[in-house]
């Protein structure tokens, strides 16, 4: 048991460690060492280059915007819907729930989704990366399950004091649900940060490309580097930055925000997230 699990954990961890270590190798050492596992000459040259690269940093900004604004919008839309549906007195609740559940079973496919984004005039807009994935049946159902667990007395006493449902939700329900909402927020945030294919499909303007798209272009093409065209290539040659260490640094920088929130994520998904049932 211990052996097998250690093996699996090591297989998971080693590639990351290798990439972190080698990304800090100095370009000259990397050039003369055929197999490099541990750098002797440390250097942040690759990182300096990444952080000075206009297109890479701009795409980080785009994905940062997605992760913050997209997550905020997603939480608002998902939690209000889930709360409403968690109140059994709401007439029409079954129909709406059924409609939401159906979207889990059947998906018309990529082309209709693409056509809708086009139809709404969202092509090449950053909102094309947010609006289509604003909510999902799975999260609505999980959150609804969570809101149902909150004792009804809380709502009743607030109602007694003359609060409307909107007031009850924002002043009473949201404050007691902060841990759960934060957990959902982290999951949405990671999802938005990792936005990739929507960026390939909907964004044509270089300045609006999300991080994962720019990262992929960079990983795919060793010679292109991260900068814009020839200027960057010239710089890269001049500084003799090996494309591998640049790619490694880019992978690490792109993953840093995830690693930064990971300890919080872990606290939530182990305890609360999976306990909610998907059943309607």
């Amino acid at each position: 048991m211990y052996g097998l699990l250690s093996l699996f954990a090591l297989a998971t961890l080693l590639p990351f460690i290798y990439i972190v270590l080698v990304s800090f190798t100095s370009p000259s050492e990397y050039a003369r060492t055929p197999i490099l596992l541990f750098p002797r000459e440390w250097s942040t040259a690759s990182y300096d280059y990444i952080f000075r690269s206009g297109s890479f940093m701009r795409s980080m900004g785009v994905s940062g915007f997605l992760a913050i604004v997209g997550t905020a919008c997603s939480l608002l839309v998902t939690s209000t819907l889930a709360y409403g549906l968690s109140r059994s007195r709401l007439k029409g609740r079954r129909v709406i729930l059924g409609g939401i559940l159906f979207t889990m079973l059947f998906n018309p496919g990529m082309i209709p989704a693409y056509m809708i984004v086009k139809e709404y005039g969202l092509m090449n807009s950053i909102w094309s990366l947010i609006l289509p994935s604003l909510s999902s049946a799975f999260y609505v159902l999980l959150m609804k399950g969570f809101f149902q667990e909150i004792p009804a007395e809380l709502e009743e006493s607030a109602k007694m004091d003359g609060s409307s449902d909107i007031g009850v939700f924002f002043r009473i329900i949201v404050p007691v649900s902060i841990p759960a909402i934060a957990a959902f927020g982290l999951f949405y945030g990671v999802g938005f940060w990792n936005t990739f294919f929507a960026g390939v499909m909907y964004i044509t303007d270089d300045a609006k490309r999300p991080l994962q798209v720019v990262l992929q272009m960079m990983l795919l093409n060793a010679s292109t580097g991260v900068g814009s065209g020839a200027a960057a290539q010239a710089l890269s040659v001049e500084q003799r930055l090996p494309p591998e260490t640049l790619k490694m640094a880019a992978v690490i920088v792109s993953s840093l925000p995830i690693i930064a929130v990971y300890p919080f994520l872990q606290r939530y998904f182990v305890s609360g997230m999976m306990l909610g049932s998907v059943k309607g």
């Binding site: 079973l105 018309p108 082309i111 709404y120 690693i259 182990v270």
Partner: protein, 301 residues
């Protein structure tokens, strides 16, 4: 009608609260369903939706009889079959092993490590894969050639492409997949293990007769969900891993729909191809659910 008026008057703020969410589902989940109609048209962007000709099931017929169809079906089923065989049981095995651990510290370390790749994007995962296994830049191949061996085309060999995808899926998501089984494992009554102990059951017998039956319904529920997506393949993964040498074994329904529809502008044909997949998927998941219920399990829907 009167009921409705009273309900709306009483709960008007509650309806207001769910309005954005309902609008979202209507505008972005249900509105695309109109796009299904494209599959029955000869859609032309110049004529638009309302003026394009209706052609009935012609695109479906063309698609199913098309020479690409058997290739797409073979690739999709091949990848999914390997997934079902190796990727599906992996989290179950890992969870059972984790459950057997006595050392809390070690367990936590393993969990922390193996959950991490799940949160990385496919771009990062595939990028790491190339940096480790790639033919030019991969460290493994550098070591092999340094010892005088021939470089191995791990990522660009059509014969191992499906295996590669499965291994990659296990590396990224098997760890995270253990969570749901670990949760199910906590639901097993500890007295069963004590009873097993008294009856002289060894560790394997306890796993076989207590642990596995204890998580059987979770396994079946997840298997049903898995069967429902038998025609879907992790799109971003396949899209990112595709390169010229493996193109013939990497083309699946979604990549095909993307290429033919978005890139070549054959919207109607691509919609039909996508819809074929969705409809079969719906039939599969409902079928699997019925089947599970027949065998006395709870089912999902």
């Amino acid at each position: 009608m009167g009921d409705w008026k009273a309900a709306i008057r009483r709960d008007k703020y509650l309806y207001l609260l769910i309005l954005p969410g309902v609008l979202y589902f209507l505008m972005f989940q249900y509105a695309p369903m109109w796009g299904i109609a494209l599959a029955f048209q000869d859609y032309s962007p110049f004529l638009g939706f309302w003026h394009s000709d209706w052609v009935g099931f012609e695109h479906f017929r063309t698609f199913i009889l098309h020479e690409d169809f058997p290739i797409l079906l073979r690739n999709t089923l091949g990848i999914n079959f390997l997934n079902l065989l190796f990727f599906f049981p992996a989290p179950i095995a890992l969870a059972i092993m984790l459950n057997e651990l006595r050392s809390v510290k070690f367990k936590r370390f393993v969990q922390t490590t193996i959950y991490l790749p799940h949160f990385m994007s496919w771009v990062v995962i595939v990028g790491i894969c190339y940096l480790i296994l790639g033919q030019g830049e991969g460290i493994i191949n550098k070591i092999i050639s340094d010892y005088g061996g021939d470089k191995v085309d791990f990522l660009t060999n059509a014969n191992r492409f499906w295996t590669m995808l499965t291994a990659q899926s296990i590396w990224k998501d098997a760890g995270y997949g253990t969570i749901i089984f670990l949760a199910a494992l906590t639901g097993i009554n500890p007295e069963l293990y004590e009873a097993g102990q008294i009856d002289g059951a060894n560790r394997w017998q306890k796993i076989r007769y207590i642990t596995i039956p204890g998580i059987k319904s979770t396994i079946i529920v997840l298997l049903i969900l898995r069967l429902g997506s038998l025609l879907s393949v992790g799109f971003e993964q396949v899209y990112l891993m595709t390169s010229a040498p493996v193109a013939s074994v990497a083309d699946v329904f979604d990549t095909y729909a993307y290429r033919v529809g978005v890139q070549q502008g054959n919207f109607s044909f691509a919609t039909a191809a996508g819809l074929f997949k969705s409809v079969v998927g719906l039939v599969l998941v409902i079928g699997a659910d019925r089947m599970a219920k027949k065998f006395g399990e709870e089912g999902v829907y």
